[in-house]
């Protein structure tokens, strides 16, 4: 039987599928969840998927509609023109060639857990856009030569001391009607005391802003009440650029090798943001206007590649050494120029870039954590698809970027999955019996207390836990190699003859097979954590820093990582466990701060320049440091804090103190 390559997006799951199977069958075989309420009887129309067209360099796959059986009548009933091109029903379309299939958000059965939830910020409210009430006397023939605009500007100067304010063209077009409709009372939104970006009839108090964090994999929008600073709504989605490449590099390559690649990806992210705007502002809808028009200010953070693609800059030159970005400074661009459906006259504030690979998202982390206001030496690790490090204190701060690969996010791991219901997120292993217990997202208790476990895979925090626990239980040694002499059925050789540890037996899972941590999974994690450690270590060396006072774990799932597991693995050099903090999505926090306080914008521009970028990968010592850092926790470095911690907990492995 002939087999074809099938790749599912955005999960990234892939495999060889026999000719003639349906896409739904392929999805089930590869562990991809597609909603199929009717059980594949072609009646519910829930399983719509999009076929990606073209040649994808990274995956080396030529995908297209012609690789499927012809469109059926059942499908014609369900597929509407507004679904866009390339849509098929997964239960009806049979596979006759290589395919790249995108499963849209609404067709996915297991919804992703938003792990970018916003935390409370304490920051002085001083937004860039402020609302002013304007009340004019009704004009009469005596005011012969004074226009509406001039009268509003005069009022702003006399009553609020705002001089030299200008008018956005779109806002100006609304002015006449607003004044008359509001019986000469209006509310103007003034940007940076400089420009009126919105005019509303009557006195309007509520003011809304949107802070956006565009990650390589996840996009989140935080709708904020600008009068209280509170987040009133959060919406997230998978980055709609994922079909064009799972990581930054393959997206850059897509832009380089496809003539309209950049435009397509830019379109995708703008459309995606407009969907977030629509969802997040659904409750703000008034007078038939879309809710988005109530949003008067917006800030955005992202990595450099997402930044360039979003703005339509050629990303080619940031994809290769020496990684030069088109622009570093912050930008203020009109929402309407970008096609974003917030108030059209408003500006979108793009936070600055630090250097090449260290983007505005890292600036967000920087202004949220403010290491430049502290005496303590702090290492901030922002873990995403890439790892960004900030190190220093008020004297000096350096940054670097580490190629960790996606292992921390559950990709390239045999049973890896994103943080969604069914994912194993916490693991404990008994050092004596080598038995384990674990927690699954969506279930309140450890699996040993559950009737039905239904584990489906393992997410980033679960993998970190599992490998750290395997080390503590002596299942793997410090080089990461399995100990095959243990008397337990959980340690065994897989069908490929390679060692593995059984985390969940088949009857505890919803996929019908044992969930294991393989030797290759351990290796992938060693590479990822080794890159982080080596980056931190080399920065410390170059800056003459001996030890860390504090370690901050940031990033979408930063707050879900068990800090003891992170320290045990040696994701960073030794530090007092009480001084290891998880702060969650600090990049998003930074975007919100810049939204609520305009001083933070100036600070971001200044501090982005204060931070010195270090290119670590070209250091002659890198290879050696990287190599030594792949051991658990490290081949040579001492870990006195970890040693004490493990001794206190009577863990039967020793580390160098």
């Amino acid at each position: 039987m002939k087999k074809y390559k099938v790749i599912f997006q955005p999960s990234g799951r892939r495999g060889e599928i026999e000719e003639g199977k349906t896409i739904l069958e392929a999805a089930q075989a590869l562990g991809v969840d597609i909603e199929a309420l009717c059980g594949g009887k072609k009646v519910c129309g829930k399983c719509k998927v999009r076929i990606e067209e073209g040649f994808f360099e990274k995956d080396n796959i030529q995908s297209g509609m012609e690789h499927l059986s012809p469109l059926t009548e059942d499908e014609e009933k369900h597929i509407k023109p507004e679904d866009g091109p390339g849509i098929r029903l997964a239960c009806a379309a049979e596979i006759h060639g290589d395919l790249k299939v995108f499963v849209p958000e609404r067709s996915r059965a297991g919804k992703q857990v938003v792990r970018k939830a916003a935390k409370e910020l304490s920051i002085k409210l001083d937004p860039a856009v402020k609302k002013y009430n304007v009340e004019l006397p009704e004009p009469s023939l005596h005011d012969l030569t004074t226009g509406d605009m001039e009268r509003v500007l005069k009022f702003l100067e006399e009553d609020y001391g705002l001089k030299g304010v200008s008018f956005d063209y779109e806002a100006l077009k609304d002015l006449q009607d607003a004044l008359r409709k509001g019986e000469w009372k209006i509310t103007v939104s003034v940007w940076m005391d400089k420009e009126i970006v919105k005019v509303e009839p009557g006195f309007v108090e509520p003011s809304y802003g949107l802070a956006v964090d565009i990650g390589t994999t996840t996009v989140v929008g935080y709708l904020c009440d600008m009068n209280t600073g509170k987040v009133i709504n959060t919406e997230s989605m998978m980055n709609p650029q994922v079909p064009y490449g799972e990581d930054v590099m393959s997206r850059i390559t897509y832009a380089m090798t496809n003539p309209d690649g950049l435009e397509k990806m830019q379109r995708a992210i703008i459309d995606g943001l407009n969907e977030i705007i629509e969802r997040v502002s659904a409750d703000l809808r008034t007078n038939g206007k879309n809710g988005g028009s109530a949003i008067v200010d917006m800030t955005v953070v992202f990595n450099t590649a997402m930044h360039h693609i979003f703005l339509g800059f050629n990303p080619e030159y940031i994809g290769r050494s020496p990684f030069i970005p088109a622009v570093q400074h912050s930008l203020n661009l009109k929402a309407r120029d970008l096609g974003l459906k917030i108030n059209p006259g408003s500006y979108v504030h793009i936070l600055p870039i630090e250097a090449g690979f260290v983007g505005a998202d890292n600036v967000g982390v920087l202004i949220a954590e403010e290491p430049y206001n502290q005496d303590e030496i702090v290492l901030i690790i922002d873990i995403g698809t890439n790892g960004e490090l900030l190190l220093g204190n008020r004297e000096r701060i350096c940054s670097t970027s580490c190629a960790t690969g996606p292992a921390f996010e559950g990709a390239q791991i045999k049973f890896g999955m994103r943080a969604a219901p069914g994912a194993i997120e916490k693991v404990k292993i008994d050092p004596e019996t080598k038995e384990c217990m674990y927690k699954v997202i969506g279930k309140a208790d450890w699996h040993t207390h559950l009737q039905e476990v239904n584990a489906k895979g393992i997410c980033g925090s679960g993998i970190i836990d599992a490998v750290a626990e395997m080390f503590k239980a002596g299942i793997i040694d410090r080089s990461g190699k399995f100990n095959m002499d243990l008397e337990t059925p959980r340690v065994r050789r897989g069908t490929d003859g390679k060692p593995e540890y059984v985390l969940a037996w088949a009857d505890e899972t919803s996929i019908g097979t044992d969930i294991t941590i393989t030797q290759a999974d351990v290796r992938a994690l060693q590479l990822a954590k080794g890159a982080l450690y080596a980056g931190a270590k080399l920065m410390m060396k170059k800056m003459g820093i001996e030890k860390l006072d504090r370690v901050v774990l940031a990033g979408a799932f930063g707050s879900y990582i068990d800090r003891e597991s992170a320290l045990t693995l040696g994701m960073f050099p030794d530090c007092d466990i009480e001084k290891v903090y998880a702060v969650g999505n600090a990049a998003g926090d930074g975007a919100r701060m810049a939204l609520l306080n305009r001083g933070k914008r100036t600070e971001a521009d200044e501090k982005a320049r204060f931070v010195e970028f270090m290119e670590i990968a070209v250091e002659p010592e890198f290879e050696k440091e990287f190599m030594m850092a792949m051991h658990i926790p490290h081949m040579k470095d001492k870990f006195p804090n970890l040693k004490a911690l493990l001794e206190k907990k009577k863990v039967p492995v020793t580390v160098k103190g």
């Binding site: 990274k58 080396n60 590099m249 850059i252 390559t253 290769r320 050494s321 390679k498 590479l527």
Partner: protein, 231 residues
């Protein structure tokens, strides 16, 4: 004349020193080999290389990982440094010289260094251009050195596409040159599409390819020895 027993012992020590990444043990054994007048070629091929073959096997079985591999490489180089000055010109019927480097825009070179090591072991003249090498430089260097093999490495998808350019240019100037490409984003299909003669997607495969090549050389050497003995 060195006794068979002594020779075997030294070869064993060289081999195990490499496998156990014990630099000092390798150095000591290599030094002794020279002192007692052992054939340096034999010490390299039946000692060091045999050890590295076993390392390759362990790596493939995932028992060894990159750190172990690099430490083994260090041990191997320690031995090679001592033995190489004493190597007699080998008549293997192949002249070996190779141009190797990581392509423009890419600064990752661990994989390339592992492959380079195997060429060093095999007695090739290695022209290592390093990393972030301008594309034209590969062609230039190949013409200058008249190398029969060019190895291109890239770790990033963005820089990988540069390889195709180099391949085209090389083929234009010198249709007979053999080209190997390697690195994480490289696949067999791409190698075929671009007209490369060989490929290795990662250090693991690079090592295997390189070891296969050396093993082939080793066999040729044994045959040559056998023929010599006959005549």
């Amino acid at each position: 004349m060195v006794s068979d027993e002594k020779r075997k012992e030294i070869l064993e020590r060289l081999k195990n020193g490499v496998i156990q990444y014990d630099e000092d043990a390798v150095k000591e054994a290599a030094q002794e080999a020279i002192e007692i007048g052992m054939d340096a070629n034999e010490a390299i091929f039946d000692g060091l290389v045999t050890g590295m073959e076993e390392v390759g096997r362990l790596f493939e079985a995932q028992e060894y990982f990159v750190p172990e591999l690099l430490m083994c490489a260090d041990a191997l180089y320690a031995g090679l440094d001592i033995l190489k000055p004493h190597v007699k010109q080998m008549d293997l019927g192949v002249k070996g010289s190779v141009v190797i480097g990581t392509v423009e825009g890419d600064v990752h070179d661990i994989g390339k260094n592992i492959v380079k090591m195997m060429f060093d072991v095999a007695g090739f003249d290695v022209y290592d251009l390093g990393r972030d090498v301008p594309l034209d430089k590969f062609v230039e260097e190949q013409l200058k050195t008249d190398s029969e093999l060019v190895c291109l490495s890239a770790m990033m998808t963005t820089t990988m596409v540069g390889m195709q350019k180099v391949i085209n240019q090389l083929r234009e100037k010198n249709p007979n040159v053999k080209i190997m490409i390697g690195g994480a984003p490289v696949s067999k299909e791409l190698a075929d599409k671009w007209g490369a003669d060989g490929y290795a997607p990662d250090a693991n495969n690079a090592l295997k390819e390189a070891i296969n090549m050396i093993s082939a050389l080793k066999k040729m050497r044994e045959e040559a020895e056998a023929n010599k003995a006959k005549s």
